[in-house]
Amino acid sequence: MRRAALAVVLATFLLPARADAQLVTTGLGPVYDGIGHLLTTPEDLVPALALALYAGLRGPRAGRRALFLLPPAWFLGGLVGLRSPMTIAFPLAAISFLAGADSGVRGLIGIAVALFVVVALAAALVVALERPWKRIAARVAGSWIAAVGLLLLGWRLRGAR
């Protein structure tokens, strides 16, 4: 069930983003633009949170892996996207943002840093949960995220028509 839910969430966010992906300008330069982008773009933030919750539930080891794999992977994906605007799926919102904001690698650094912080905080939060009911709360949150993902999939399919 959990695995299926995760698959649904990931699949949803793999779909091409709509063309109206917003552009965040904080006025503080590209690094902060990148940070702001991640924190204000639910398409990117929510799956990252879901992954962090999941990793945290699996224990510190899984949490560490997610922490050190996800941001670099995101960054690499973004780099590829910068070179060629092909629709590699996962960091797609990031790419569309970068294409518009013209802030390039620095924006990606901002995104990766923010991602690192978000994943570290969220995963550690879950790892620290000892009481069973708190762990269940994290799982319930996961199920809600899956529900959101499913609805988003519906919006995307409807928008495509």
């Binding site: 839910a5 917003q22 552009l23 965040v24 300008t25 904080t26 940070i35 702001g36 924190l39 204000t40 639910p42 398409e43 933030l45 929510v46 949170l49 978000v118 969220a122 939060l125 009911w133 708190k134 269940i136 709360a137 994290a138 799982r139 319930v140 949150a141 199920s143 809600w144 995220i145 899956a146 529900a147 959101v148 993902g149 499913l150 609805l151 988003l152 999939l153 519906g154 919006w155 399919l157 409807r158 928008g159 028509r161």
Partner: protein, 199 residues
């Protein structure tokens, strides 16, 4: 205690997803509006509210693991219902289904029925499809579907949490009776909804 966990999780979600919004508020107006609309929507119809609170009440009556399984099942299956609605598959008799859900859920709460867990989840799930189908497709124009969905799911979950919190009185005898009475009232109002849907 248990209900606090849900509230905390929900709060954490809200806070996390909104933490940075003020900094860039001028860009994100559409998103925030979508979120608020989604948050508001499930609360706006009494039939929905009663059905979802009943799910929480029933969960509290049944105790673990139903107390958290039902509130997980409902939003998930409701999302499936919303999905079906979004891709354009019609579902006949949505209003009747919603009214029926209020009647039946109120009835099981009033009876304090204890079917096998799977059956309970299936009952909740079937009705959740109707609720999702009715709601998921009603996005105000010009707002973000994603943030609408987030607000929508959170509001639904919080309604369950409300039901569970009310259900905490189940540990006392008077409380048990009060819950059953409340279930009866939900069932009665469900009859009214059904009357309106058919007539």
């Amino acid at each position: 205690m248990r209900s606090r966990s849900f509230a905390q999780a929900a709060l954490a979600l809200i806070v996390l997803s909104l933490a940075a919004t003020p900094a860039c508020a001028h860009v994100e107006r559409g998103q925030a509006a979508g979120f608020l609309a989604g948050l508001h929507h499930p609360i706006s119809g009494l039939d929905h509210v009663l059905a979802m609170v009943s799910v929480g009440l029933w969960g509290a009556q049944l105790g673990p693991p139903a107390v958290w399984l039902l509130p997980v099942t409902f939003p998930m299956v409701m999302a499936i219902g919303g999905f079906i609605g979004l891709i354009g598959v019609p579902l006949p008799g949505v209003e009747v289904g919603i009214a029926l859900s209020a009647i039946l859920l109120g009835f099981v709460v009033a009876r304090e029925a204890r079917p096998p867990l799977g059956l309970a989840a299936a009952l909740v799930g079937i009705f959740a499809i109707f609720h999702g189908h009715a709601h998921g497709t009603e996005l105000p124009p010009g707002q973000s579907g994603l943030t609408y969905s987030i607000g929508f799911v959170i509001a639904t979950g919080l309604l369950h949490v409300t039901g569970i919190t009310i259900g905490l009185v189940h540990r006392w005898r008077a409380g048990r009776i009060a819950i059953r009475v409340a279930g009866g009232l939900v069932a009665a109002s469900g009859l009214v909804f059904l009357w309106r849907a058919v007539a």
